[in-house]
Amino acid sequence: MSVGFKDYYDVLGVPRDATQADIKRAFRTLARKYHPDVAKDKATAEARFKELNEANEVLRDPETRRKYDALGEHWKDQERQPAAAQGGFAGAADGASEFHFDGTGFSDFYEQFFGSRGHGAAGWGRVRGGGRSGAAFARPGEDIEGDIMVTLDEVLHGSKRMITVRRVDPGTGQSVEQTLRVTIPPGVREGQPIRLAGVGHEGTGGGAPGHLYLRVRFAAHPDFRVRGADLYFDLDLAPWEAVLGTTVRTPTLDGVVALKVPAGTTTGRHLRLRGQGLPRGDGTRGDLYAVASIQVPHEVTPEQKLLWEKLATEATFKPRHTP
């Protein structure tokens, strides 16, 4: 089974020579537009949101982006002589390509080259040379690992997902499809394996089949970054807001709240919204931190410039030691 090439640049609507900053900006803009929580047509938006996330996942990291670019260049050759060309890519493990998933949020293309299997995990369960010959004893089947994309909203509320696993039956050579209903519990953690018992490779000599492990991968959120159960939000402030203090409307997973920014807030200050993070699984929730980041206007009118100059001459504030 071959997989189709995915044009991630096209998905994000950026040129191939886009900077990392361009990619980040494009993702944030589109992700905000198609975020399942805000979009009207939920089903379409969700598919699009996951596609955007997959593209972002690959392109935001210069290393995986390089790998992807190289893959694109060789894609045509590879289709002609797959075995030879795939040797250069650790992700294209032959055994893994017998399995295809639907409904995890990641495409087959991603799974093969960039997913858990693409990270070299394929080597974990691989039996060298198809296993030791004359398997007189029972040996359990290999585990399969895949990724499942989970949005922060799903982490908060939990969800039910339909996962379809397609595989080639080694006995008959026929394609077998199995539909599984997986419950994503609230408070699921990044990297947590969800075990689907008995869905892996068949065992030999009467050995039990392996398991399918779906590794939870959080979908990137346009507003929040995640660390453990805590969320971080970059709060951009105007210099006068930071100096004088203000109240800003801040997004949380549960809706918008008013956040009081105290006078004299510097860049990097963490303003905590207690209990507005992700659930921990023990009933408590992490916190949301708004991290202050002071922005300056790109352009100033002549009148504004005069005001800044007045401030500069009157201010006694010294931000640094001058030698």
Binding site: S107, G125, D143, R161, P193, I194, H211
Partner: protein, 111 residues
């Protein structure tokens, strides 16, 4: 790429249901069965610090989360199929743990 659209409509086609519970720990017997290791091997892995049991408060019974089960299945493959010994497994486990941690940090800082 259908994901959670109308899961109930399709329920009749679903062959198996999976309900992983958060924070569930398996006892010793369940763990050895799920991980496909003997009690002795489990003990060796624990002593080598390759997996950490969680002691549950009431009686201090040993329990293992799903992560530990997966880790042990991987270790067992490496040991049995690829002939790695315990020091090699320790090295590999610590490197992978660090890699995972650094990857998460990098993701966080890249935003």
């Amino acid at each position: 790429m259908s994901s959670k659209e109308d899961p109930d409509d399709q329920e009749s086609h679903a062959l198996e249901l999976f309900q992983p519970q958060p924070g569930v720990f398996y006892g010793l017997d369940e763990t050895t069965e799920l991980a496909g290791v003997s009690r002795r091997t489990l003990l060796i892995y624990c002593r080598a610090g390759l997996v950490q049991p969680v002691y549950q408060p009431p009686h201090g019974a040993m329990g293992f989360p799903d992560e530990a089960i997966l880790a042990m299945r991987r270790l067992e493959r490496l040991r049995v199929e690829h002939g790695l010994d315990v020091p090699a497994l320790q090295l590999m486990a610590s490197l992978l743990e660090e890699l995972e941690h650094l990857r998460a940090e990098l993701r966080f800082w890249r935003g």
